[in-house]
């Protein structure tokens, strides 16, 4: 009886996706699908107007997300999602601009753009799928690769200290900062909802299992094993000190870390503009 329902059913959320782009390119057990799922759930719960939503992504596995969302979307060059989104948001503040990209794209090649967008408090919502390495290019060491992890370019174990993304975001001035894993998908969804309702620059990091590449090199051959790690190691410590929110083999600090309100760049800019013109009008008359 379950079987017979199969062929006809259409997933209730298929309307949020570009059916003709499905199935997505992601591997078995990849967390990117979970992130998109959570994002879609959030959109659905908020009844977001898809006509006013712009999804921007950079390069990398998760970069394909833009193409999968049934909304205006743009797939930029490597690392440039944020400055592009800056242009979009400033040119039309009515739009809900969400950048969905990876740790390499946002924090290695795009690192400078990230800290400046956060510093300006640009009204952009950033969702980062952190898979701890460069997945699409075959698993090279990246800015978030934990110490001693093995990757195709750190075959003897990584000796570079990884970025603590939530700390970085908080320090750069983000108004909302959270970290969850693909296992905490409910909390992730709630965070995304919160983020979409906030003003200013918001950042959510989702630890995403990359079993095919990162996992394979680090003794976690399946998505279930990586999820198992998340379950074993995760501790929810909301609003604890972001600088202590580490990601190690036996401890993954997750939770919300920052939730403040601050005037966004576009708000301030457009307020200024209208003030200037009031003055101009007075001069004229």
């Amino acid at each position: 009886m379950v079987q017979e329902t199969v062929p006809v059913v259409l997933h209730p959320f298929s309307k949020y996706l570009r059916e003709d782009m499905m199935p997505h390119i992601w591997c078995q057990g990849c967390g990117n699908g979970v992130l998109v799922n959570a994002f879609v759930h959030a959109l659905d719960e908020l009844q977001t107007d898809l006509d006013k939503l712009v999804v921007v992504s950079g390069i990398g596995c998760i970069g394909r997300t833009a193409g999968y969302m049934n909304a205006d979307s743009f797939h930029t060059t490597h690392g440039r999602a944020l400055p592009f989104a800056t242009g979009v948001k400033l040119a039309n503040p009515e739009l809900e601009v969400v950048v969905i990209s990876g740790d390499g794209d946002l924090f290695a090649i795009g690192g400078n753009h990230f800290i400046h967008a956060a510093r300006r408090n640009m009204g952009i919502k950033v969702l980062c799928a952190n898979n701890l390495n460069y997945g699409m290019t075959g698993g090279q060491q990246g800015p978030t690769t934990p110490l001693e992890s093995v990757t195709t370019t750190s075959p003897y174990g990584n000796i570079e200290n990884p970025f603590n993304l939530v700390h970085l975001a908080a320090a750069s001035g983000a108004t909302y900062v959270a970290r969850w894993t693909s296992l905490h998908v409910r909390r992730l969804t709630q965070s995304i909802k919160k983020m979409l309702q906030k003003e200013g620059f918001c950042f959510i990091e989702m630890l995403s299992p990359c079993p095919e590449i990162y996992g394979r090199y680090n003794k976690m051959r399946s998505g279930l094993e990586m999820m198992g790690w998340f379950k074993k190691a995760s501790v929810v410590e909301s609003f604890s000190d972001p600088s202590k929110a580490d990601i190690t083999a036996d401890r993954i600090v997750v939770g919300e870390f920052v939730d403040i309100s601050k005037l966004s760049y576009e708000k301030m800019l457009h307020e200024k503009i209208s003030k200037i013109n009031e003055r101009a009008m007075e001069k004229v008359s």
């Binding site: 719960e45 296992l183 905490h184 969804t189 709630q190 379950k231 995760s234 929810v236 909301s238």
Partner: protein, 814 residues
């Protein structure tokens, strides 16, 4: 030391002891020749005055003493009468009134320990009385005046348990103006009373009269309500308790508006504790409609999210106020209080242990508590008394009394006080709703002792409730109709009955809470054999615990109805209030004194002190004592072998003087018994109160704790030829000084070893753990030891004298 000697010397010149032997009507005089004893007393050293009188505790008795102190310049007073646990305070006051320091008073217990236990051997009784007086006089000669240290009292109270008793006590204290921490284990206060439908004898709605009190407690500015919390640690002493409370998370924040939307969506459902499983509740729930606080709670043992991963977020979504937070973690709160009221309540008896009543197997056999929920309009059946099997309203109902009370079978020998009246009330309730229901009550005795109780009993009878004396031997089910057959003997009509009913209600008794032991340990309380907490004195201090600053309210102390619980609660509040109003309390001058010049800084005393009141000052090579923290057990003094430390009012020389007094003549016939003030001495008193007869050869030396009994005391007793020695104290774990009696055990075991090595009969040294309620245990021990005394070989006694001879020198004083 030297100038101390002089001072003692000075005293010795002028020690003037007055001895008063009390007849206590015939209580003592009945089996002791008091005049004879007084005459004997007059012959004792330092005694300048000895007389016997009918009631020494009477006004003129006391007046006489005062007068003599002035006129005869008495500077020591000995009264030979009842137990010091009863009248020592009285006579100490008498002395003080006459300007004599109360620590210069000593008592000989010739009633509980003598006249009452040797009713039929006046001669032996009199001889024993003489010895007891002699011991008292010997100690009295060495008594020294003392001033009591004052300890400040924190003006905050902790109330453990949020039943009606706890609520009442909290409200009383809070209204008096003291801050109260009310700690309740369950998610809501209200306790047992909240589950009851109507109260007897007035038949008013239980929750209706409780709910207002609950919300008062919830909103009172002076009450901090800590629900879903448990006291995890209590340190300190009267007036200065440091309390730790573990607040378990509710996972629902104060923002909860109790709208109940979350409950509608929660996929988890289990039987509801509040309705004894007759209704279901959800994983997120409020215990009952009137719960205080009204904040809901998530049962994390059942919640799908218990592994820390939020699998199900239905409640989160349903909650507009976003009051649900799975992040919350348990927190431990710490605060200081001056007094503690224990109102932890009672459990109900689980009748499924009585197979003959078939509870749990026969669907239509229910308990009186289940009945309360069924008859309650807010209950699962909407107030319709229906029987579980077919949910029909029963035509014939049988009540069975004393289920889990007053029976060997259930192991509950005591009467639970409330069941009779509760059943009578219940029967009337049924009659109110369904007048033509046939009701019969099977009972042993109907105990309608309280105000208005008898009327209610009569009303029930007049309403046609049939009372049959004699409990059913068994209840069997009629498999077809699911009716029940009650079969038993009618002890009035002397005949067997076999009565058919649609439903049987077991009137279950109350029993001590399973977790009482935890509270007992936290507060170093003691419990009677039924497991209920033991008051300091059954008559004169009924709501005080033996531990200073701790009081009882409600069923924690014994089964009670609501009225008594509330009464006791107010009493406890008043008692606590007295302490806090005063703001300070004096601690008995039974703390240690040190002689630094003798101290070797070995640190043994530091190790054994249960209160960490002693610290080692390495630089000065001596120990330092925090008097306020000292509990006064004296185990430090027992541990010190170099005489660098002893306990005030129980000094080595005083105790040795008592030992010597006992062993002066016919030691080979005697038992030198050391009893701790709280349990074994009280046990001996209890044996006396209950007139339990035992051989007269025991001589009891009272110490505050068995931990005070030094090896050298026992050794000296043997060295002086005592036949046997008894060391007795509270049960391990029940020690009033936390764990001091574990030292007692160690020391006795060491002595046994020594006796064995030296080929002595180790039977001669006995160790007894007896609670204040175990009079019989004490008495039988005395009988047992009598036979030992009779069988001790003289050569063994001689050998003992030699083996322990050394100690005589070591413990020589005057």
């Amino acid at each position: 030391m030297t100038e101390k000697k002089e001072s003692k010397a000075k005293q010795e010149e002028q020690v003037r002891i007055g001895v008063y032997v009390c007849h206590c009507g015939l209580n003592i005089a009945g089996s002791v020749d008091c005049a004879e004893v007084a005459k004997y007393a007059a012959t004792l050293p330092n005694v300048v005055l000895a007389q016997d009188n009918r009631y020494t505790c009477s006004d003129q008795g006391q007046a006489g003493i005062k007068n003599d102190i002035k006129e005869q310049r008495l500077n020591r007073v000995v009264v030979a009468s009842c137990s010091p646990r009863l009248h020592e305070p009285t006579f100490r006051k008498t002395c003080e009134d006459a300007g004599l320091n109360k620590y210069l008073f000593e008592m000989a217990n010739i009633r509980e320990h003598c006249s009452w236990v040797h009713l039929y051997d006046k001669e032996a009784g009199t001889e024993k009385a003489k010895d007891l007086v002699k011991m008292a006089v010997a100690k009295a000669a060495l008594l020294e005046p003392a001033v009591e240290a004052e300890v400040p009292i924190t003006r905050r109270a902790l109330v453990i348990g949020g039943g009606v008793a706890g609520i009442q006590a909290s409200l009383d204290l809070a209204d008096t103006g003291y801050k109260v921490y009310l700690v309740e284990k369950e998610p809501s206060i209200g306790g047992m009373m909240a589950r009851i439908d109507k109260t007897f004898p007035t038949m008013d709605c239980s929750i209706c009269i409780l709910a207002p009190k609950m919300s008062d407690a919830g909103h009172h500015p002076n009450i901090e309500l800590l629900t879903n919390s448990e006291v995890s640690e209590v340190k300190g002493y009267i007036g200065n308790f440091h309390v730790k409370v573990l607040r378990k998370p509710r996972y629902v924040t104060k923002d909860c508006s109790a709208c109940g939307e979350c409950v509608k969506v929660c996929p988890i459902a289990v039987p509801n504790e509040f309705d004894v499983g007759l209704a279901v509740r959800h994983g997120i729930y409020t215990p009952f409609a009137q719960a205080v606080p009204s904040t809901y709670i998530i049962d994390m043992n059942l919640c799908l999210n218990k592994d820390g991963v939020i699998v199900c977020d239905k409640c989160i979504k349903a909650c507009d106020r976003q009051a649900i937070s799975f992040e919350t973690k348990p927190v431990t709160e710490e605060f200081e209080v001056g007094t503690i009221i224990v109102a932890t309540g009672a459990d109900v008896f689980d009748p499924s242990v009585l197979p003959n009543y078939g509870y749990g197997k026969i669907p239509n056999v229910i308990t009186s508590l289940e009945f309360e929920r069924l008859i309650n309009a807010g209950g699962p059946s909407g107030g319709h008394l229906i029987r579980p099997s077919d949910r029909q309203i029963p035509k014939r109902v049988a009540f069975v009394q004393c289920v889990g009370s007053r029976s060997e079978k259930s192991g509950r020998l005591y009467c639970s006080n409330v069941c009779c009246m509760n059943t009578i009330k219940d029967s009337l309730l049924i009659k109110e709703h369904w007048p033509d229901t046939e009701i019969c009550v099977f009972y042993v005795d109907i105990r309608a002792y309280g105000k208005g109780f008898e009327d209610l009993y009569q009303r029930a009878k007049n309403a046609g409730v049939v009372f049959i004396r004699g409990l059913p031997a068994e209840i069997v089910e009629d498999k077809k109709t699911h009716n029940v057959w009650l079969i038993g003997e009618n002890t009035l009509r002397k005949g067997v009955y076999k009565i058919n009913a649609d439903m049987a209600i077991l009137s279950i008794g109350l029993e001590a809470r399973k977790d009482s032991e935890m509270i007992q340990r936290l507060l170093t309380l003691s419990r009677n054999q039924d497991g209920f907490f033991l008051e300091a004195h059954p008559k004169l201090r009924p709501v005080d615990a033996a531990t200073g600053g701790v009081f009882f309210a409600g069923c924690a102390e014994s089964p009670k109805d609501i009225k008594d619980s509330v009464t006791q609660a107010s009493a406890a509040a008043a008692r606590a209030g007295i302490l806090m109003a005063k703001g300070h309390v004096t601690v008995e001058a039974i703390t240690p004194i040190t002689f630094p010049e003798k101290c070797t800084a070995c640190g043994l005393c530091v190790k054994v002190c249960p209160y960490n009141a002693i610290s080692l000052n390495k630089d000065l090579k001596r120990v330092e004592i925090v008097e306020a923290a000292c509990g006064g057990c004296g185990t430090c003094a027992a541990e010190c072998n170099v005489g660098a430390l002893t306990q005030k009012h129980f000094t080595d020389e005083q105790i040795i003087a008592q030992i010597d007094a006992i062993t002066e003549n016919e030691p080979e016939k005697k038992i030198v018994a050391f009893c701790c003030n709280w349990c074994s001495y009280a046990g001996a008193d209890f044996a006396g109160v209950s007139r339990m007869q035992y051989p007269p050869n025991a001589r009891i030396i009272r110490t505050m704790c068995s931990g005070r009994v030094a090896q050298r005391f026992v050794e000296r007793a043997f060295a002086r030829g005592a036949a046997t020695v008894l060391v007795s104290g509270c049960h391990l774990g029940d020690c009033h000084y936390i764990n001091a009696n574990y030292q007692t055990q160690k020391r006795v075991e060491r002595l046994w070893k020594k006796m064995e090595q030296n080929g002595l009969d180790k039977q001669r040294l006995q160790l007894l753990w007896a609670s204040a309620a175990e009079g019989e245990k004490f008495a039988s021990k005395m009988r047992e030891m009598k036979t030992i005394v009779d069988n001790v070989k003289p050569e063994d006694i001689e050998k003992g004298k030699k083996v322990f001879a050394k100690v005589l020198e070591a413990t020589k004083y005057s």
